[in-house]
Point group: C2
Chain length 115, copies 2
DNA sequence: CGCATATTCAACCAACCGGTTGACGATCAA
DNA sequence: TTGATCGTCAACCGGTTGGTTGAATATGCG
């Protein structure tokens, strides 16, 4: 499903680039969920959510286990941690300007309650 | 240049999803660079690199300043830190299984020397 | 069995992405 | 001025993405 030659970080970051998928991950923090229940709050078809879940599974950000007729989705934080480790390499090189950083967080992050 | 309604994290993660762009960021850790010098190690046209740099600038991962005829590219780690902060929210919820995590790092990360 | 529920598959679509090439505008230097 | 260098722009291309619909496949239930 994913091009075999792509770096694991490619698929992880690409998966995280979509707000629907980030919202799904946030929901899965609460608890494991069935596909239908994941789809419920979103204004899009079940098939679309099914595809999003496949993208997340390809990136190993979730796993899916079928029990009976329902497929349970479970958060799998290891891949996310690997990406986080990669990213932290960048923050550490200059002495952290906490003022600038908090200004950034204040102006950039809260403009959307969704996540 | 970027769709106005997209969340900042969308563009940051999308920018990070490409290995060429991650490599550029890594190069910029060393020092600020001119566009031509950024392009040098890559087997693709200058125009392609110029586009990649525009994507990174849209995501506020770098800034570009033109001095004379050369345009200098500078790493801007705040956006990266914001994404890192978002991600760390996930790692903290289950008691960290360090064994599993190290196994993950060992199998998933080193298969590509590039980054 | 017969029906409802859970999920995916297949085909299709418009939009976007990552790359190319060639022309172009700016800037420096002889 | 002439010419070289720096970088972007515009048009194009094939492949991917994110969504839609409708049919198909399991599975559970009365």
């Amino acid at each position: 499903m994913t091009s075999p030659s792509s770096h694991p970080l490619d698929t992880v970051f690409a998966a995280l680039a979509d707000p629907t998928r980030r919202a799904i991950l946030t929901m899965l923090l609460e608890d494991d969920m069935a596909v239908t229940d994941v789809a419920h709050p979103f204004a899009m078809s079940l098939a679309a959510i099914s595809k999003h879940l496949q993208v997340l599974a390809d990136a190993r950000l979730i796993t899916q286990e079928k029990r009976g007729r329902v497929k349970w989705c479970k958060l799998e934080p290891d891949a996310l941690r690997a990406a986080s480790v990669w990213m932290q390499g960048f923050g550490q090189f200059d002495p952290v300007d906490l003022d600038a950083f908090e200004r950034f967080l204040a102006t950039e992050l809260p403009d959307d309650p969704e996540i």
